[in-house]
């Protein structure tokens, strides 16, 4: 079944898409976590660098005011040697390095175009008041680890231009810049470590979620769906008795339940349809055959009876002709039975009590039952509601069933029980009639055949239309008939007729001429 396969493919496609989306979301999520971690680290370093820079500035302030250069150098050297601090420099407004943890560069010009400065320094522009984030920059010198640089402008204040050294004039705004560079190696290492952990966790999460989903999908959906698909295939192949085992109470359990109910109804409808169809086509066939065959039979019968009439003196010829006439008449009777069977009458319904109809049928076959020492037991429900039925057809049904019961009982005598009662089937009131006999019963393998036309166990006595007729009549009344039987114990025929048949459903075949 390509359709089923298609659906399955589509579902797995969709699941793959869902998986990809999940992975993408988790990936993006972890990417942002890593990024945010890194930023936090850097902010911390920045904060620390700023603090350090302020600390240097304040601790060197008095030495600066008194112009004790050596002491300033000492402080800067000491701090510059701290782990993680790359360099500490102070340069004046013109960019000449006055102090540096690296003594070699003292007196040289800061290259304003160098990467370290470029970020916040458009070339040749003097430093103005800057916020802390503007004073910070991260840069990477060739083949080196990343560094964070922070500049801290040293502003002019009265102590500076009033000092004895008179190096600075009162007009200057900024006297110089304290530049601290800190290595980001540790931060980068931590970030990397963090990143690795997040990636590993993410992968582990994705894998475990996938496995978990796969397992539960397989257990909760794939397997039951496969079972339903298998059941569907079995039903499609014609096995309408296929039953799904229902263990669960979820949607798929409900689906399996509905499926079972559907196949059950389908099987019932199919049987019904099969029989109706069969009866209808046999009816048409019978009518056609009867009409076609009656003309040649007329030829045979009239000629042979004519010859018989003229062969009074020839005893041998007479007896042969008698055989022809007799057998032709037998053919005629069979065709007549067929025609009666095919008679497509729709029921003429009127409101009657089923008990009365059964009584009438019993009356008609009473002599036949008495003759065979058959005791009739009646278990009627008196308060039976009237039903709208064709009473003469229903009477035919009971006559056929009673005659069959009598035939099943045979010469040895027995009991026929007739019971009527009302039952509720699917919320609808129906009248149930049970006809039970203590006869020879029906073999299991034959039960499915007994309602088929031309099935007979009564060798010469009939052509096997009795129960077919019964079936047809009950069907036209929207009723059902079923049989339970045990060999040598007897049979029970159960008829159910709706008290108020569904409106608009008028069963009955078209009249054929």
């Amino acid at each position: 079944m390509p359709g089923v396969k298609n659906v399955k493919n589509k579902i797995s496609h969709k699941l793959i898409a869902v998986g990809i989306v999940t992975i993408a979301i988790v990936g993006i999520f972890s990417y942002f976590i890593t990024k945010s971690n890194q930023r936090t680290f850097i902010l911390k370093v920045e904060h620390y660098a700023n603090q350090l820079s302020e600390m240097i500035k304040s601790s060197t302030k008095s030495d600066m005011l008194f112009y004790r250069r050596e002491r300033v150098h000492e402080i800067i050297d000491t701090i510059g040697q701290q782990k993680g601090i790359e360099k500490v420099r102070i340069f004046n407004k013109e960019g000449i390095i006055i102090y540096s943890s690296d003594r070699k560069v003292v007196g040289t010009m800061v290259d304003k175009r160098a990467e370290a400065c470029y970020a916040c320094h458009t070339a040749d522009q003097p430093l103005e008041r800057l916020s802390i984030s503007e004073r910070t920059r991260i840069f990477q010198l060739e083949d080196k680890v990343r560094s964070l640089g922070i500049i801290n402008p040293i502003y002019n204040e009265p102590g500076c231009w009033q000092a004895d050294c008179h190096i600075h004039s009162q007009e200057q705004k900024v006297l110089g810049v304290l530049d601290v560079s800190m290595s980001l190696a540790e931060v980068d290492r931590l970030t990397k470590e963090n990143q690795t952990i997040v990636v590993l966790f993410t992968l582990a999460a994705i894998v475990s979620i996938s496995v978990f989903l796969w397992y539960f999908f397989k257990r909760l959906i794939t397997r039951p769906v496969q079972r339903i698909v298998a059941a569907t295939n079995a039903v499609a192949a014609g096995n309408l008795s296929y039953k799904l085992e229902v263990k669960r109470n979820d949607e798929l359990g409900h689906l399996a339940n509905s499926f079972n109910e559907m196949t059950h109804n389908l099987a019932e409808a199919q049987t019904q349809l099969y029989h109706s169809d069969k009866l209808a086509s046999i009816g048409r066939l019978a009518a056609g055959v009867a009409h076609e065959i009656n003309n040649p039979l007329t030829g045979v019968l009239s000629y042979s009876s004519y010859l018989l009439k003229r062969s009074e003196n020839d005893s041998e010829l007479k007896s042969d002709l008698e055989t022809i006439v007799r057998e032709t008449k037998r053919c005629r009777d069979i065709v007549k039975d067929l025609l009666d069977f095919a008679r497509p009458i729709s029921p003429h319904k009127k409101s009657v009590n089923i008990n009365d109809v059964i009584e009438r049928a019993l009356n008609i076959v009473a002599s036949q039952l008495n003759f065979r020492n058959i005791v009739v037991r009646k278990k009627y429900t008196d308060s039976l509601p009237d039903v709208s039925i064709d009473d003469s057809q229903l009477q035919q049904v009971f006559i056929n069933l009673l005659v069959n019961a009598a035939d099943a009982i045979g010469e040895k005598g027995g009991t026929v029980s007739l019971a009527t009662r009302t039952v509720q089937i699917k919320g609808k009131e129906q009248i149930q009639i049970d006809v039970t006999d203590t006869g020879c019963g029906i073999a299991k393998e034959n039960i499915s055949k007994i309602f088929e036309p031309f099935y007979s166990t009564k060798d010469q006595k009939g052509i096997g239309l009795g129960l077919s007729v019964v079936w047809g009549i009950i069907d036209k009344h929207q009723g059902t008939i079923s049989v339970e039987s045990e060999l040598n114990r007897g049979s029970t025929f159960t008829i159910r007729i709706p008290v108020s048949p569904a409106a608009g459903v008028v069963k009955g075949e078209p009249q054929h001429e």
Binding site: A287, A290, H291, E292, N294, N295, P296, L297, T298, G299, V300, L301, S302, Y303, S305, Y306, L308, K309, R310, V325, T328, K329, C331, R332, K336, L339, R343, H348, R360, N363, I364, V365, S367, Q368, D391, S392, Q395, I399, E513
Partner: protein, 268 residues
């Protein structure tokens, strides 16, 4: 030139026609034939016939239409219907529109000759009579269905029903039987299970010559009793058919439904 025949047979099936011809000619009866309704009607206009025997299933125009035309134009000519598709409804319909009798195919010589002679006798008896001067006057206004004691209903001219005070009904022959069959030998009752069904053959009268006349039940019902007097003397059918010569006393099943094929009638 107008010719005079005893019988016109309308039948489209050659083998049936040939068989009928064989039987009829052995009785030295003059027979003419037609293959369809149209030629039958033109022959009826040209020639004189005592009796018409017609199939119901004819090409183009059906036998029922033919009977209706004959009943209108030649009310004195009895029509016997033969059909290969003999349903109860067909038989009842045929009687209702005024057929003399109804024979289902296949038939044997005895049944065929029985109807043939009875039909010819009836035709002769009707000759020169006003067709409405019959034993029973049909009351056309039959909308009101009555089954009180003494009410009579007829199935064409074939059978009659008379209701009794107890609600039972006596079923007997109509005017096409008494005195028309020749010497009767006996009557065969053809019922199973003590009931008769409207439109089904329930009895046949056999003459001393062996000819058979079928009687079609005009009403369905359970047979209460048969007529013992008939067993003693079958000639009651001829001598007193409408009173002592009844065949069955039945308890009707479904008169209201079945009355559609019947007409209310009074004895003259």
């Amino acid at each position: 030139m107008s010719e005079k025949y005893d019988i016109l047979v309308v039948e489209d099936e050659p083998v049936v026609l040939a068989a009928i011809r064989k039987i009829i000619e052995s009785e030295h009866i003059a027979m003419d034939e037609a293959l369809d309704t149209k030629s039958a009607l033109s022959k009826l206009k040209r020639n004189t016939y005592a009796l018409v025997i017609s199939d119901l299933m004819l090409p183009r125009i059906s036998g029922l239409d033919l009977i209706q035309s004959i009943k209108e134009d030649f009310p004195c000519v009895p029509v016997v219907v033969i059909t290969g598709y003999a349903t109860l409804e067909k038989a009842l319909q045929s009687f209702k529109i005024g057929s003399f009798d109804f024979i289902p195919k296949p038939f044997d010589t005895e049944v065929f000759l029985g109807v043939l002679h009875r039909g010819l006798n009836y035709s002769r008896a009707m000759q020169g009579k006003d067709p409405h001067q019959r034993t029973f006057i049909h009351i056309l206004d039959a909308n009101e269905t009555v089954c009180s004691a003494g009410t009579r209903y007829c199935l064409g001219c074939h059978a009659q029903i008379m209701f009794e005070e107890t609600g039972t009904a006596l079923v007997g022959v109509g005017e096409t039987f008494p005195g028309m069959m020749g010497d009767l030998s006996h009557m065969d009752i053809l019922v199973s299970r003590e009931e008769i069904t409207q439109g089904k053959c329930c009895a046949q009268f056999v003459t001393k010559e062996g000819l058979v006349n079928m009687f079609w039940a005009p009403l369905s019902g359970k047979i209460e009793t048969g007529n013992d007097d008939l067993d003693k003397d079958i000639r009651l059918i001829d001598s007193d058919p409408y009173d002592k010569g009844w065949l069955f006393r039945i308890a009707p099943y479904n008169f209201e439904e079945e009355v559609q094929y019947l007409t209310r009638c009074e004895r003259k």
